[in-house]
Symmetry: C2
Subunit: 567 residues, 2 copies
Amino acid sequence: MTTKDEEEPRISSLPPVSRPSMVAGHRRLSIWSSMTGGPASLDPACNWSSLVSALVALNTLLLGCAMVSASVFNTVSITSTHLQLYLITIMILSTCWMLYYTLYTVREHCAVLYKDGHAGPIWLRGGLILFGLCSIIMDIFKIANYVGYLHCDSPVKIVFPIVQAVFILVQSYFLWLHAKDCVQLQRNVTRGGLMLTLSTNLMLWMTAVTEESLHQTVLPQSNGSKASHRTAMRVGPMDDCECSHSACSIFEQASNYLYPFNIEYSLFASAMTYVMWKNVGRLVDGCHHHRLRFHLRDVLLGPISGLLVLVAGLVTFIMYKVDVQDKDPAKRDLALRMHYIMNSLAYVLMSAATVAGWVLFGLDRREYVSGKNPTRSLDVGLLLGASMGQFAICYFTIVAVVATGVQSEVDALNLASALLAIVQLCLQNGFIVEGLHRLPHEPTPAQTNAAPELYANVHATRSHSDSELDIKPDPIRISTVSQSHHCPTRLCWKRRALKEVCAYLMLCNITLWIMPAFGARPQFENPHGLNFYQVYMWVAVMNIGLPFSIFYRMHSVAGLFEVYVTS
Amino acid sequence: MTTKDEEEPRISSLPPVSRPSMVAGHRRLSIWSSMTGGPASLDPACNWSSLVSALVALNTLLLGCAMVSASVFNTVSITSTHLQLYLITIMILSTCWMLYYTLYTVREHCAVLYKDGHAGPIWLRGGLILFGLCSIIMDIFKIANYVGYLHCDSPVKIVFPIVQAVFILVQSYFLWLHAKDCVQLQRNVTRGGLMLTLSTNLMLWMTAVTEESLHQTVLPQSNGSKASHRTAMRVGPMDDCECSHSACSIFEQASNYLYPFNIEYSLFASAMTYVMWKNVGRLVDGCHHHRLRFHLRDVLLGPISGLLVLVAGLVTFIMYKVDVQDKDPAKRDLALRMHYIMNSLAYVLMSAATVAGWVLFGLDRREYVSGKNPTRSLDVGLLLGASMGQFAICYFTIVAVVATGVQSEVDALNLASALLAIVQLCLQNGFIVEGLHRLPHEPTPAQTNAAPELYANVHATRSHSDSELDIKPDPIRISTVSQSHHCPTRLCWKRRALKEVCAYLMLCNITLWIMPAFGARPQFENPHGLNFYQVYMWVAVMNIGLPFSIFYRMHSVAGLFEVYVTS
């Protein structure tokens, strides 16, 4: 105890760490964190720079919000060019900062001392690269299209997709490399930069959603007539301006199809930048990461039935896409009916499996992970937040169908599938959250004896960190004592059954992800919602809800994967 | 160490605490929290019931959201009666739960062991009672009005204000008594109940905002004609239904004036319920609360100049209200000009004072409060969140004025005052957050010697809680050692100057609160925004932004008060 009591007065008056030489810096950081007894997020400079960066984001977003509103409601004063200029400015600033950060990290030896193993998982980074690729292709199509209009339209129109492509390229590279970083040097600048990048992504998302909605509402209304709505990002025919090459309309069509991927890309990048921002200054204890491996040994029923659902889903999806294109209303009705039946069945089976998983959790008396884990809380928050999209779609559908009364079989199926989706979402959210909070099983029976030892070690570390200066500031305490029911050679039936459930749910979620991601839009093909809420409202709700619901399905696959591996 | 190591395996398998007998319960709680080494929010049952209650709120809100949208966009299928029935149901459920909680707490001896001193401060509870009173009066007017329509309209119309009045009565009583509670018994039920109450308040807020917007957009358009929009809460003339008594129109007018207070009431109640929800299961260490007293000794310049601003503000406000009623556009222009000049001046003076405060913070080398404090984080979050309202109004104004170009003196003043408001908001947010994170000065010189003792005590407690079972689980560690620059008899000039700045800013914020709270709406009286963004958009932004900006001014007065007292 004496060591600390003597040290504290001297050290507490140190200035906040900004760019110390590496050895001293590392030591000072550890001192700081062991002093405050927790992660570095408690130091005053952190509060201060968090506030400033939050204010930066707030101002960027609200100014952007006002400009987007103005560009929609007052197309004369604020044209799409103004909005594009604003977006170009913030994209260039973010790109510069990301390049600066990357270069700085490469040049500085040991610039990143801590990495958060939970942040930026492979599915998120993989999705980011995939959607980023689609977005860049979209931008190339846009550039090709606008080249045709260059003689009679603003050059900003062609600069915008170029800057956006560069931004996406740099950002994907940046996030691929640095998503796990817990930045310790230049924290203030990094917080500001990350918040700027976050608000740039949110602005691009907001603009894209608004324009997708306008595209879906304005274009159908002006069908046949020459009137069109010029928007900031959308490729569209301009008044009195003819394209100089013949491929314009092809490029335009193609880039319109790639639009939803761009919306999804902005969502992914926002989530990852936010996690990085939260991790700035965090000192993560790297030692509590079990290297758990994924293998399909011992599970059979789950993957097989999951694959059956996947195949059934793919078949109905293809049939749906073919039928729904048909002009014949009877065929479209058939397609919708099939889609709703398929979805309802999937929801029922998934709910049943989740309930079984619940029962298994009840029987499996594994301990809970204690100790705070910001990344886990964030993960749970993102899961719940993303599920709001699907919830909103369901409730809007239910209200519409119930209010007008069930008039046809399609209505009844629509209602049933919305209700079942809500049940399934609630159960699955609970299941994943419960699973993430359980302590992982020990990976191999050979480590059975290691548990009490680990326990003792953790305690040794703690008492150490209380009495001395220590570099492990945030030990996640694991109470692994009562965890002694291993099955020596094979997995015991409870664990096996839990793995079956997880594998099954994973494949079902992939099925439910594929359908909206690749263009099944029963919400628009069934005219009920459009007629009930009027076009603007319905399109707005769907364009905000659908990307979130796609994100949710991917996120829950990742969550279920983690539950699978740890159980 | 041995005590804990032996205790833990046995205790960690205990079921989550739900309704233990009090002595055993208290002991078990302390064991739990000392085991997990922090607040009780880390126990698994907490995660679980938080999730369930969050899902309850999510579902209630999204269903409500869909109903509100439907009642706006499809008045035929979802009438105001449907929406009112939904609101009545959730209000009755919330009221029942609040009554149950109150009765349960009264009957159970020592039901509430911990109170959070920061939660539910007097200004928030006072504001709640004030706005609640106005809301109840509004409900009485509504009832009186609807009695006249009873013979030809749905009786639900009269049941709604009755239920709402009872709900407001019960909720105000409940929050007045229990806002500080850190509930430990029946945590799951309490979390669910609080989230239901929170979503009820948010639903009432959402409905009120929507209807206020409709009232401001539909009524001006249907001026003169008989057409009107029937909405759920708003008193309004009904088609083909004549009032049976003569006072109808008076009651209608009167209740319309009280509407903004009802919106404000819902916001206050939501904030307080959210804080209570966050505090469920928290074990607060009561001993770190210095009883700091408020006195105006040693300060003079700040209060006097603040009072001058207040008087000037009141005078211009009254003149504004008189002039703006005038039909003469020249007089209205004069009123607006005066209002903008007054506001701009106030912003400039406040910004200057805040910068001075910043400099004083730099000179004053007080320590920062270390350790996590959820209430403080929440306070800062609420402050930043509420300031978004004013930020949004400012940015929408700036975009509108800049896009159309400054065409008159009023435009220039409008733009200047919006820009200055943004500067002032950023500076003031930073100032308050910085002030709240500084350690309080010792209240009296007599306690100068107490500091090292306190320090030693805190450490004794900590080492104790690590080795033994202890009932103080979350001691906020205060490093008070280097805090030894007291002025023996009088306050030193730095502290005095800081108090002057705080007092001045408090009075200025009160001035800026009074004007919008009592009906200065230059955003509507100046037609610029309405014309630029079209009526719907502008009214929606203002009706969401203004209540938040009023809330922000009150909240910052409270924050400044705390900074005044601690410096």
